[in-house]
Every structure is written in C-alpha cells, then in structure tokens.
Symmetry: C2
Subunit: 495 residues, 2 copies
C-alpha cells in the first residue's frame, strides 16, 4: 500500500491520456478560482463564472465517460490502488443525475445571494427559504446512494471519503465531553489581554516569509498573496499558492499563513509518481486540515517554536515585544475565551463550534429539525457548549457561508483535522525523540519529512482511514487532542 | 455592416451554446497564459504547459466540429456577418491536419530552446537547424491552402486576415522609400541626450496610473502588473490586464504602459452584443497595433499631451524635470537614432526594422534565401536601411523570439499598425476639430469614443480591410505616416 510502487508506464496509454486531461482541467479550474479571488478585477466576475462552469462541465463529462470505466477495469490488475481511487470518483459522479447537479449549483448561487441579503438585514428569515431548498436538494443527492446507512453519509463522503455519520457522532461525543468542562474551567479564570502595541504589516510579512521558508515554502514553486479570506490553492505540485491577511493590530495573519502553508506542504509533498493521475492531491478535507492545524497550532503556538523565533520577532517588533518574555508571549498567543464566531475561536473552543454545526446539520438532513427552528436550536447549543448568549443572527446562524451554497457534510472535517493533528503530533514525537529540541533550534525539516513520508506522498492513493491507520497505527481518536489541550491549558491557566 | 444589428437571440441556441463554450476555453487560455507570465512560480512551468496544450486542443476540437459548420450554414441567413467570421475560423482550422499542428507546436518548443542556447553562445549556427525545421513546417502549412497566390499569404492571414504579401510588399516599398532617406538625414544631425537624472519607479507607476485612467483604464475592470516583456491580456471585455516594466533610468515603462492600455481599450470597447460569440476581441494584430501605437506615439509623444501632463510630471520628478520646458521634454522623448535592436527603436526607424524582417522571412518562405545565409543577409539590410554594422548574432538575427517558435507572417503587422495609426489619427482630427485642444487640457474621452465607434465596437465582425475602409475611407496608405514623421521630425531636427 505505497505510492512507491506506482508506475504509470504500466497503465494503458489511453488511460494515462484521459487522466492527463482530467489533471489539466483540474489544474485549470484551480488557477481560474485562485485568480478570481486574488487577482481578477471585480467586473470580470460574470465571464469568469461562465468559464468556471464550462471547465467544470468538461471535467465532469470526462470523469463519467464509460470509456474511462472500461479502462479502469483493465487497470485494476496492473495498478489496483490507482484504479480503485479513480473508479470511486467515476462511480460517485455517475450516480448523480446531471439535472440534480445543475439544480444544486443553481440553488447554491441563489442561496449565496439570499445569505448576503439576510446578512445585510441581520435576519435569518430572509435566508430560510433558500436554506430549505438546499436541504431538500442535498437529501435528494443522498437518495442517489440508497445503500448508505444514514442520509448524511453520502454528503460527508464528498469531503471525507470512507467516514460515516455514526463514526463522527461517536468521535464528537467524546470530544464534546472533554471540551465543554475544560472550556468552562478556563472561562472561570480572569480574562487575559494579548499585546499592548502593534505589529506593522510589512514586518509581519517579512518575518512570515522567513518562518514559512523554514517550513518548506520555496519561492521557486510557491507564492504568497493577500486575500480577504486566507486560503491555499494548488494548481500543481510545483505551483502552490497561499494567501493570508495581515493587520497591524494582531498576529492572526501570521498564524493564518502557517496554516495555509501547512495545506500547501501537503500538496507539494505528493509523490511525483502520482502526477497526472489525478491522485496527486490531498485525500480528504479532514486530512488536509490536520496538516494546516498541526503547523498552525501544535508547532506555531508551542514554546519550542518560539524559543527560536521570539528573539527574531523582538528584532522586528521592538516596541511591542521589548518587555515580553517567552512565557508571556506564549500566554498571549494562547488566550482562550468563549466567543460567538467560529473563525475567531481559539484552539480549545474551535471544535465545539464545529460540533454544534455538525449536530444541527445532521438534524436538518435527518428531518428532525426544521429550518425555521434553526436559530433557536443554534442559541440553545451555544449556551450549552460555550455558555454564551447569541444576540442576533449575524453572530449566530448567518455567520458561515457553507450552508448558503448547499455545502453540508463539510463542517466535521475541521474538527477531524484537529483530532488527527494531535495524533500525528504524538506519533511524530514518538518516531523522532529529538523533535522538540530541533524545533527549539528553528529546525523544521525532520517534521516536514516525517509528514511527507506518513501523509503527503500518498496523495489520494490510500483512503483516509487507510492513510490514518498506517500513519498513527489506529483510527481517529480524540484522546491525544484532549490530553494535549488539558496539559497545555491546564498549565497556562493554572487549572 | 455594424455590430449594432447583431442579436444573439436570432441564433440557434445550439450555436450560442457552442460559441459560449469556445469563448470560455478562449478566456481560460488567456488567464492561464497571463498567469504563466505574471504570477506563476517558475517551477510550475511543465504542468502549465500541459494544461495550456489541453485547453488549446479542446478549443481546436470544438472549432473544427462538423456540427458547428452545419449550425453556421443555418445562421448565414439570420446573422450573416457573425456566421461569416466564425466560418472563417472553422474553415482555416479544418484545413490544417492535426498532425501538422502537433509537429509545428513541438518544433516551436524545440526552436525556442535552441534559440535560448544560441543566444547563450551568441552563435546563430546553434539555432540554424531548428529554424530550418520551422521554415519547412510553415511551408507545409501554406500548402494546406493551395489557392493562395503566394506561400506567405496563408501565414500572414493567421495574423492579418484578408491582407496579402503582394499588398504588404507594395506598402512597405513606399514606406521604405520614405523612411530610409529621412533616417539618414536625421543621423547626420548631432546626437541628442535624453534626461540628466532619474525617474523613481514608484512615482512613475503612480503618474502612469493617473495617465492611463484618463485614457480609460478603470480599476473595476482592469489591472496593471509588472512583466519582463510588457504585454496586454484580455480574458474578457471587463477583465483587461496590462503589464509594463518600469526602471529608474528612463520613461520607457511609461510609454510601454500607454501602448498596452491602447491594446486593452480595443478589447474593452467591443460591443457587448458580441460577447460569447467569439467575435468580442481585436480582429487582427495590425489593427491591434494601430491602437497601441496611436496612444503610445501619436498621443503620448505629442506636445499637446504633455502640455497637460508635463507640469504633473514636474511635481513627481522635480529633480530631473525642474529645468526642462515643454520643448526640451518633447525633444528628449523623441530622440531618433539608428539602433541595432527593434524593441529599442524610435518612431522613425521602427518600421525599418520590421520591413527588414519581412523581406527576410518572405525570402525564407519563398526559398530564395537559405537559413544558413540569414546572418549575412541581415547585416546587409541593416547597413542598407539604417547604416549600421551588426557586430554579432545577438544584436542581429538572434534578437527576436518570433522565428524560434515558428511564428512567421507576424512581423509585418507591427508596421501595418504604425501606418494605420497615422491614418486614424488624421481621420480623428478631421472628425473632431477640437481634438488637439482637448488633449492639451488632458481630455482624452473624445478620442477614445471615436476609436470605439470606428474600430473597437466592431470586434471581429468586419474583416480588417472592411474595418479600415469604413474607419478611414480607404485602404492602408503610408502617406499619413510619412507626412506625420516628416513634419514632426523635420521640425524637431531642423531638417
């Protein structure tokens, strides 16, 4: 079960040609989408929308072609893992009628527009009919997979192949039971303040580039740009584009950058033997998020990492950091507090925001929660999980874009990423006893190579459960994450 | 004969769908190519090359589809001009065997690599076999059009549809007879110096943006970036991307910017009724170049233009321009001297560089000149046209990329652009008597609207000869250009 054994020369040239074409259309879609968010003049939107739809349709037509299916049957002997992974894409795409896909796409656009209006009005009622329509359509989507145990499973499978709602529910149950009491203990401690003073953007960008170069960002194959919502795009293994958003008043842009470079390292680290097979990218959103979270939180918010980097930060930001020692710095970048907004949440409360959304969308898909009752259900869970009151729809149910576009089944992958990151972190330390010492010296190469070996190089060849099993020796397990948080924040907050 | 009468609703929906798809693939190719030159990390090259080839193949497959031909037959009644223009593309693409296209593409890549090596070695002999191969292939391309009077005609037709080698030869004959003596008169005058002092890049960029906004550059629909070789790209009518290259020691980047914005205004000014018909872009390279040259030279190097802008330049560059009055400034930006390098040539000698290349490539295609004899033929013509000696291949026959990629038939369009620009300039002044006064006040709107009416809005609906006829009331004519140059430089150099 290793990409090391993949040899494209063993594939029928007609198959490699088809996979090459799919690769090129995928590459093209990534470039068009990145450009749309980072470079395109605003008025270019309508033409770009048309072009993206055409490229996506051409990709879909090629993916569902019966000739591809026949070639995959053939390839099942010579390259079983390659054939299996691509057949999965082929089969899923063939199950869903083109008419339903088109309806979902239209409802997603309409939903996004309604969501923007509802945000403008700070009124969920404006969005509710569009959300109802999206739920109806994802339920019809699920019905295309009648063998599924739960109607949520085919939705989750789009983002986290091979994982079921039953597994997520069990995982999140344990996570919630660990996190809710930890959060409430921390919330009882006196609130802490971050920094007094600013971090000028230009200097953040400079030291940010130094930091990510030590992670593996190579200007020959990477670029960094600004974006309102930071993201990473990977048109190809040697064409990795990360974005961030810096502001003078905080270091969030620096952590967002490490996060996005974590995503980029995954795509950059895929075995070159998988290039042009369509398997040369991340296998699931959960595994992807494990990479970004590991670099952002487990490396980027650790005392080891800042042992090396804090003196360099002091050189860049002497006014703000002159009197801040390592302990003070670590406390300031690890402030925990219950908040209303997911994207502003800290390492402890983040997963609770995700679990809340998971439980709600599961109920919406099951039909046990009506869209009209969503704001009340949201508020009740926020109170239960984080002890906070939701003052209005904008800071509650209208805060995320996902549901507006019909994206259900996505949210759990964020917390799966947190869980897996802690498992990998533990496994990496077991395999590399000197890892903490190396990080304290600013050396990140051993960690990057370990992650490449265990995760990156496999691309989409192994399924996520197989990949996780061979990387950490077992399935997803919340224990390392809970232990990490209890130890770290127990010390930081004197619990 | 006006795009005003085009109504896409009169077209068969199956045709509009096919044209929409061709539009989207064209858009995609433009974005991929722009990104490759302006944004892509260097290591992304191989994957991008594959993606561009796939998009180009998909575009070609759709263009030659017999179903498109049948729909165009139908459309010939409802929308004859639309059907005619697209049928032309369809017919030309069908004539050339896919195998030849593939060979030309490969030979173009190989030729480019050989050219780079030859430049490294400053030795034409390293490049000669690749050039020979390219010539052989373009001759085979020509043979696909046996009805052509001259084997050069089908090559020229790729870039300047409807114009023949016989016409270009006659046009260039008259141009050469006017330009060679004018150049030699100027060369006898004492050499002039440009500016003493620098033009810091940041300030050039700022005033450059002010200038091009007065031309019609609108940040909502345009963007400006740096590029080693300035160019313009137009993924869509409302997505126009220009590039320039500024340096502290000259104003060439400013003129290059006006040049590229001239190209962009053409694409931006196409009638929206032509969107998604594939006719919403410039009709030929010659007409395109008339737009860029008009703004760069006829506007941008005129005393009227700088009457308004020189005081603003003095504010930006006080050290360099404090003691420079309008006359001195105009002299400094209109220095004429014989040079070896085309892209550094002035308004007078530029066309001679082009005519030289045209005469040589015509002879190569005819077979009356052997590639091995090219450097000597080049040197002889440089002496004859400009009176200069060519010291080596790098400053001679190896200076341009075009032939290395198998691009023959392109060079004449540069000088056609110069010729047409002067014709349009004369016609615009005849139609707008107050034009010079407006330009002196910094008002460029009337000129832009006149160009849109005469040239831009028609897109590719009219053929270049039809377009030129209705814009200037006759065919291409070198007289206005020669008269403009004699008058302008006669005064500047006291001839």
């Amino acid at each position: 079960m290793s990409s090391r054994s993949v040899d494209r020369a063993r594939l029928d040239p007609r198959l490699t040609e088809r996979l090459g074409e799919l690769t090129d259309l995928g590459h093209t879609g990534h470039v068009l989408a990145w450009d749309q968010q980072v470079m395109m003049p605003a008025a270019g939107g309508p033409a770009r929308g048309e072009a993206l739809a055409t490229i996506s349709r051409l990709h879909h037509d090629r993916l569902v072609a019966p000739e591809l299916g026949a070639l995959l049957d053939e390839a099942a002997v010579a390259e079983p893992l390659v054939a299996r992974a691509i057949r999965r894409d082929h089969d899923v795409a063939r199950r869903v009628p083109g008419e339903l896909t088109a309806q979902m796409s239209r409802a997603g656009s309409d939903g996004y527009a309604a969501w923007l209006q509802a945000r403008e009005a700070n009124d969920f009622a404006v969005f509710e009919p569009a959300l109802r329509r999206n739920i109806e359509l994802v339920r019809r989507y699920s019905e295309c997979f009648p063998e599924a145990e739960h109607p949520y499973d085919p939705l989750l499978d789009r983002y986290e192949p091979g994982t079921t709602a039953a597994q997520v529910t069990a995982l999140f149950q344990r996570l919630r039971e660990g996190l809710v009491p930890l959060m409430s203990q921390i919330a009882m401690q006196p609130a802490r303040q971050a920094f007094t003073g600013d971090f000028p953007v230009a200097a953040q960008r400079e030291i940010g580039l130094e930091i990510v170069q030590s992670m593996g960002f190579d200007p020959e194959a990477w670029r960094l740009d600004d974006a309102v919502h930071p993201f990473a795009a990977s048109p190809a293994r040697c064409d990795i584009r990360v974005t961030s958003r810096f502001d003078d008043h905080s270091l969030t842009g620096l952590f967002a950058l490490m996060h996005e470079v974590g995503h980029g390292l995954y795509e950059h680290g895929v075995d070159p033997a998988l290039e042009r097979t369509t398997l040369d990218s991340g296998v699931s959103l959960g595994v992807h998020e494990s990479q970004s979270r590991l670099w952002e939180n487990l490396v980027g918010r650790s005392p080891e990492f800042w042992t090396h980097w804090l003196p360099r930060m002091r050189d860049r930001f002497p006014l703000t950091l002159r009197d801040v020692d390592l302990d003070g710095f670590i406390r300031a970048i690890n402030i925990v507090r219950p908040t209303l907004i997911r994207v502003e949440a800290d390492e402890v409360s983040y997963a609770l925001h995700v679990i809340l959304r998971y439980e709600l969308e599961l109920a919406l898909v099951e039909g046990t929660l009506d869209t009209a009752d969503l704001p009340a259900a949201w508020a009740a869970k926020m109170k239960q999980f984080l002890g906070v009151d939701v003052p209005d729809d904008l800071s509650g149910v209208l805060q995320d874009i996902h549901w507006s576009e019909g994206v259900l089944g996505y949210f759990p992958t964020y917390a799966i990423g947190n869980v897996l990151a802690a498992q990998l972190w533990r496994a990496a330390h077991a395999d590399i006893p000197e890892l903490a010492a190396e990080i304290s010296r600013g050396e990140l190469g051993a960690l990057r190579v370990w992650l490449r070996e265990k995760i990156h190089r496999h691309g989409r060849l192994l399924s996520p459960p197989e990949l996780i099993e061979q990387a950490v020796g077992g399935p997803l397990d919340p224990a390392p994450m809970l232990e990490h948080l209890r130890t770290k924040y127990g010390a930081l907050y004197g619990l």
